[in-house]
């Protein structure tokens, strides 16, 4: 049954074949159980073959069994890229740990690949450990099409010298015993193999399948369960290893979700009731989640005719009552710019979630980048100060929505939340939040307005004022994007214009005064301080741990507030001999043609920090279209270390 092509000789470990169906309870061959602190697995297929569903279920079950988990989607930009093409590779990487896992790690230890071309994509991306185990669909080796057989041979040659352990698996053949179209079954077969290898609880697997396919028929559920059993039994009969990652004890109830679900859930917890959006990757799935549940909490998702209208609807809703929010990604943020200026000018509170992707323009729609920081702060004609916050973990994606809603309301401000594709699609367990009723927005105050109270009754020292909403008797006024005085009367005089500017700006300074200085991770002082923001926190801190273990005097600082910045940065920076940011955005490298210290275009946070602190903040940035790997950051730390004696 196991076909071995001559070209695979020497690089393929042929699993011993055991005749007859294997019983899961008494697997057909002895296994070596490898006990690990952590292990990283990838499932990759052509788009549409369901590798992502398989991985999501595996990740969720692993989290429920108490393992630390971080998943990252491997996703092509097109819905139906050509079959058997490296650029069409679709799937997930799941990093499992005994304790908490904060990032996607460096190398993959085990791969399930549905064809050799998607495997090549991962090999060429440098994603696989040199000793990785590969479970590879074998049908292509003996395909009727000579081109396909040839492609298989070439692929085997390309990976021959690495040292991978390739185990061929007759996925198609086995699945066809249960289903007519193996493309619709292999993912569950693969899930079954992973369940065997990682000793997953099959009841939990079936529970998760029921949840994932809750909109499908019972027959679909039953077929998927059968396929999982088939994969489990095959693995039991043919593989000679299992992996055990014993979870560290944890008695706190946990939840597991991706960052976009966390944002949607956080929005509900914050008491916001209107989400206006236009479909854009990778932000849209927030609205998928909300569309399913929001009405139960009195909320509504409005899919607008365009990005601009989505901002307008959210502003209109906020103006008339509770703070509303809009979700988007970079190109959408660009379109919303005019309306954001209006919200700043009229001091209508607004929350904007920007799930960043690679830019500029359409860029890398499905891939991570941190390139919208300066746009979030400055993309605006005129001076339009606003608040910018970046959650660093999936748990923070949940809590940031309440923070954003409260700041928007209290400061009558536009609050931009900068998430990214890494957080959006990554799945991680975190302690179940105990929802606090104080998180909820209070209903709009519709009491009569006392004589003399003005729509912009700015407190001179803070710039803060209480808004007046429609329905409040005696408060009638017209808000306007034109320069206006306290009474919202249009006024073009220099005095009035300057005063409005000062009041809107002062609010940002007041917010800054309420923030606490951040705490460095690793050490309070030393040779090198790495500053990061957003989704890179886990990878940076893991790199700090490794580098410190190797003797480097390095620490890191992670910023949540980008506008205004957390206070005390200059003092922290002065305790280190060198400061550098690590970011997923573009910067010139010293030594590039024409690049000088003076004209060098730096990482976006580095640009801001230099301007704000006058400290010579260096940067190490990359735009690989994937999360940063801790190993690469460790290497960067070595490179960034100030030379000995350089004071």
């Amino acid at each position: 049954m196991l076909r071995v092509h001559p070209a695979m000789r020497g690089i393929v470990t042929v699993a011993n074949h055991v005749a007859g169906p294997a019983d899961a309870a008494s697997p057909g061959r002895p296994h070596t159980v490898h006990r690990m602190r952590e292990h990283t697995v990838e499932v990759v297929s052509d788009s549409g073959e369901g590798a992502q569903k398989c991985s999501q279920i595996f990740g969720a079950v692993s989290a429920k069994m108490g393992n630390g988990v971080w998943t990252v989607e491997i996703i092509p930009a097109e819905i139906q890229p050509p079959a058997r093409a490296p650029e069409g590779a679709s799937g997930n990487r799941i990093r499992l740990g005994a304790g908490q896992v904060t990032n996607w790690g460096d190398d993959t230890n085990l791969v399930v690949a549905f064809n050799e071309q998607v495997l090549l994509a991962r090999h060429r991306a440098g994603a696989l450990a040199r000793d990785a185990t590969i479970l590879l669909e074998d049908k292509w080796a003996t395909d009727d099409d000579a081109d396909i057989r040839d492609a298989w041979l070439q692929a085997m040659r390309e990976i021959a010298d690495v040292g991978y352990r390739v185990v061929t698996v007759p996925m198609e053949e086995r699945c066809l015993t249960l289903v007519d179209d193996a493309r619709k079954g292999k993912n569950m077969f693969a899930l079954g193999m992973l369940a065997f290898i990682y000793q997953r609880n099959l009841d939990l697997v079936f529970e998760q399948i029921a949840h994932t396919f809750r909109k499908k028929s019972d027959a679909v559920y039953a077929r998927n369960v059968d396929l999982v059993r088939l994969g489990y039994d095959w693995a039991g009969a043919h593989l000679d290893f299992r992996i055990e990652i014993t979870p560290e004890p944890n008695d706190r109830p946990m939840v597991v979700m991706n960052g976009n679900e966390a944002i949607g859930m956080g929005a509900i917890a914050s008491g916001m009731e209107l989400c206006a959006m236009y479909p854009i990757t990778p932000a849209t799935s927030v609205s998928h989640y909300l569309s399913e549940v929001f009405e139960r909490f009195g909320g509504v998702v409005h899919q607008a005719e365009d990005e601009i209208a989505a901002a307008g609807v959210a502003i209109g809703a906020s103006y008339a009552g509770k703070v509303a929010f809009t979700i988007t990604s970079g190109p959408g943020l660009a379109l919303k710019t005019e309306f954001l200026g209006l919200a700043v000018m009229t001091e209508v509170p607004l929350v904007v979630v920007n799930v960043q992707r690679g830019g500029p323009s359409t860029g890398l729609p499905t891939k991570v980048e941190q390139s919208d920081l300066l746009a979030a702060l400055f993309a605006q004609p005129g001076d339009a100060p606003r608040v910018v916050i970046a959650p660093a973990t999936i748990e923070e994606c949940f809590h940031v929505m309440t923070t954003a809603r409260r700041i928007a309301e209290a400061f009558r401000a536009v609050v931009i939340v900068l998430s990214d594709a890494n957080l959006a699609t990554g799945v991680q367990p975190f302690p179940r939040p105990e929802v606090d009723t104080r998180w909820h927005a209070e209903p709009a105050d519709l009491s009569a307005v006392l004589a003399g109270r003005k729509p912009y009754g700015w407190d001179e020292s803070t710039g803060l004022s209480r808004r007046i909403v429609p329905g409040q008797r005696g408060g009638m006024h017209t808000v306007t994007g034109l320069s206006h005085d306290e009474g919202s009367k249009v006024a073009y005089s220099a005095g009035v214009h300057g005063r409005g500017m000062a009041m809107r700006s002062r609010k940002i300074a007041v917010l800054s005064s309420l923030l606490t200085p951040p705490t460095p991770y690793g050490a309070e002082e030393g040779d090198l301080l790495i500053v990061g923001w957003g989704s890179t926190k886990g990878a940076i801190e893991e790199a700090v741990d490794r580098a410190r273990a190797a003797g480097l005097s390095v620490a890191s600082l992670h910023l949540r507030f980008l506008s205004p910045m957390e206070p005390g940065l200059t003092a922290i920076f002065q305790r280190f001999r060198r400061v550098a940011t690590v970011e997923i955005n573009y910067s010139d490298t010293m030594g590039d043609p024409y690049v000088t210290e003076e004209n060098r275009r730096r990482g976006q946070l580095s640009w801001l920090l230099r301007a704000q602190t006058l400290v010579d903040v260096d940067c190490w940035t990359r735009v690989p279209g994937e999360p940063l790997r801790p190993g690469a950051i460790v290497q960067a730390m070595h490179d960034l270390m100030p030379p000995r004696g350089d004071a």
């Binding site: 009731e273 209107l274 206006a276 509504v300 409005h302 607008a304 005719e305 365009d306 601009i308 209208a309 989505a310 901002a311 307008g312 609807v313 959210a314 502003i315 209109g316 809703a317 906020s318 103006y319 008339a320 009552g321 509770k322 509303a324 005019e338 309306f339 209006l342 009229t346 429609p470 329905g471 409040q472 008797r473 005696g474 408060g475 009638m476 006024h477 017209t478 808000v479 306007t480 994007g481 034109l482 009367k489 249009v490």
Partner: protein, 225 residues
């Protein structure tokens, strides 16, 4: 029956509102501008319907006509060019009990905001939408708009407007789910008032195109009576 009038029926205080209760700042449109007569008709409607000023919102974009909310003593939202409709929709989604009116010009509605116009017609929320159509950009001083009659000279097409104008009525009627589409003119006050009244009492989006003259830039562009 519209939600607006339902609200009037449940009026729980004994205030009565006269025309002056709705008057805001003195209107600064040019003498002879059609906007004045629309404002007068609207004030008359608000008073006739006894709408509470605090429960009434006028939303506008940018242009001469979009100064409208400033000249009323209701709540007003003077926003950005072409984009009054999304703001009005947001208000109505969150606060359906409010009476929400939208005032736009022809450039606002049929040019820069045309996408919002088509789609808000389709959504059909309970809004009264007035398009004050003088067939020219007035605030920016005499540029051709989508409704400028062919041949009328402007600062951007001095040899005469090249294309035949867009017909807002046929366009609105072409939108599925449009529920009230009307046309009137500022210079026939009784018809204007009756149309506004019918628009107000319609439940759903009422789109009213109001033909106007611009006394400065388009004298003679409308047929003489």
């Amino acid at each position: 029956m519209s939600s607006c009038s339902l609200h009037v029926l449940t009026n729980d205080d004994d205030r009565t509102f006269t025309l002056s209760d709705y008057e805001g700042a003195r209107a600064r449109w040019c003498p002879g501008c059609g906007d004045h007569s629309v404002l007068a008709a609207v004030e008359k409607l608000l008073s006739a319907e006894q709408l509470k000023p605090e429960d009434t919102v006028f939303v506008s974009g940018i242009g001469c006509s979009s100064r409208f909310p400033h000249y009323l003593k209701t709540y007003g939202f003077h926003g950005v060019h072409g984009r009054a409709l999304p703001v009005a929709l947001g208000i109505k989604l969150h606060r359906p009990e409010l009476a929400v009116f939208v005032v736009m010009g022809d450039g606002d509605c049929t040019s820069i905001g045309a996408g919002h116009w088509v789609h808000t017609l389709r959504y059909n929320p309970d809004l009264v939408v007035l398009m004050l159509d003088n067939g020219i950009y007035g605030l920016t001083k005499n540029q051709t708009s989508p409704t400028t009659p062919q041949g009328v000279p402007s600062n951007t097409q001095p040899q005469g407007t090249i294309l035949p104008p867009l017909n807002p009525i046929s366009l609105a009627l072409g939108v599925s789910n449009a529920s009230f589409v009307a046309q009137t003119a500022e210079f026939v006050p009784a018809h204007l008032y009756a149309t506004l009244r019918a628009a107000f009492h319609h439940r759903g989006l009422s789109f009213v195109r109001i033909l106007q003259r611009c006394p400065v830039f388009t004298r003679g562009s409308l047929p003489r009576r």
